[in-house]
Symmetry: C2
Subunit: 173 residues, 2 copies
DNA sequence: CTCCAAGGTTCATTCAATGAACTGATGGAG
DNA sequence: CTCCATCAGTTCATTGAATGAACCTTGGAG
C-alpha cells in the first residue's frame, strides 16, 4: 500500500488496521478464510484475484500474524493458510461491514445467513444470537445460503461454500 | 477502484461494501466525519491526503449517499460534508476495526477512548456500555484522548479533536 | 520418460495515487 | 480600487500498484 509514510502521521488505530487489512482484496481473502477456504487455488478460483496479488496478500497476512501457513501434505509438499486468533478476531468488523452493505447496497436479500448452531437461531445484525443473547463464537456459527444467493456460480469452491457448514471448517463436499 | 468488473462476480455483500468504502483513504474520511470533521480543508489538514484524492472520495461518498453536501455560508459560498443516516451506520464496523487494530497492532495505549455520556462509563470493545448494557448511539457518545494520544500534532484540527467532544458534533475550540 | 496439477514467479500494460503547481471565486486591508 | 489571502478545488507529470497472460518448479501418476 505504501501508506507507511502517510499513516505514521495518523492518530488512530483504525489507520494501523487499514494499513494491514485495508488493501485491495485483503478483507475478501480474510472473509473467504473465515468461511473455510484455505488453499491458494481455492482463493484464486473463488475470488478471481490475480495470482501475483494473491501471493503478495497471503505473504503480508502471514507476516503480520493474521494467517498461518501450515503444511498439510509432505509429498507433494502443500501448505494451507489458516487464520490465527488475531485473524479470527476480524470476524466482528467483517460481519458488521457486510451487514452494512446488505442493508444499504443490496437489492436482493442476503446471500448468506448465519446461525448459532447450539441455539438454531439466526444471528442478528449486531452479531448477537436472539435466542441465547450471547455473541456466538465462530466455532458455533454456521453459514447457510440466503435468499439472495447467486446460483449461477458453479465452480467447485462456490458450490461447496453454498452448502451449510461451520465457519472456519474445511469446505464441505 | 475499478473493481466493478471483478466485484460483480462476488457472492457477498462485503464485496459491495468494499467497492464503496474499501478504497484507499475512504474509511479514514468517514472516521474523521464521525469525529465531527466537516470541511474540505479540515479533512485535508488532518489526514494529509492529496487534494485530488480527497475531492474524488468526497464526491463518491456524496453520490453514494454516505455524505451530504450542505451549504453553511452563502457568502462566500461554502459547503460542508455531513454524514447521512447510512454514513452514521458505519460507526459499528469502523469502531470494531479500530478496536482490532488497537488490540493487535498498537504498542502504546489507545489514542482515543469513547464514553457513554448519559452513563459516564467507557464503551467496551464490542461497542456496548458496561453501565447500562446498551449500545450507545453516536449522539450520546463522547470522544476523549486516551493514554496513547499523540501530543505532537499541533495543527488546529488535531488540537480540536483532542478535546473531549460529542461524536458528529462540530469541532470544539 | 512423459504428462499433469498445484502453487507460485515474471513481465508488459493499464490504472490509480502522489505532490506540486495552478485556477477561480470571494472578501478584507490599505 | 488594488492588492493580498483564503477556501475549495482542478490539472499535470511522476511514481507505484493492479491486472492478465505466460512461464517456471516440484512432485506424483501412468
Amino acid at each position: 500500500m505504501a501508506l507507511g509514510k502517510n499513516y505514521e502521521g495518523q492518530d488512530c488505530s483504525l489507520a494501523r488496521a487499514l494499513e494491514l487489512v485495508g488493501e485491495r482484496w485483503t478483507l475478501l481473502v480474510v472473509r473467504d478464510a473465515l468461511y473455510g477456504v484455505r488453499r491458494y487455488g481455492d482463493f484464486l478460483a473463488h475470488l478471481g484475484i490475480p495470482r501475483a496479488v494473491l501471493s503478495q496478500r497471503l505473504q503480508t497476512l502471514v507476516d503480520a500474524g493474521v494467517l498461518e501457513r501450515v503444511r498439510y501434505s509432505q509429498s507433494p509438499p502443500r501448505d494451507e493458510y489458516v487464520l490465527t486468533a488475531m485473524g479470527r478476531e476480524l470476524w466482528g468488523p467483517v460481519y458488521l461491514l457486510a451487514q452494512w452493505g446488505e442493508r444499504n447496497l443490496s437489492k436482493a436479500g442476503p446471500r448468506r445467513v448465519f446461525h448459532h448452531v447450539t441455539c438454531g437461531a439466526r444471528i442478528d445484525p449486531h452479531g448477537l444470537c436472539p435466542s441465547c443473547g450471547g455473541r456466538p463464537p465462530l466455532e458455533e456459527t454456521e453459514v447457510r445460503p440466503g435468499p439472495g444467493a447467486d446460483p449461477f456460480r458453479d465452480d467447485p469452491v462456490s458450490v461447496a461454500l453454498r452448502r451449510p457448514h461451520r465457519m472456519l471448517g474445511p469446505l464441505p463436499g
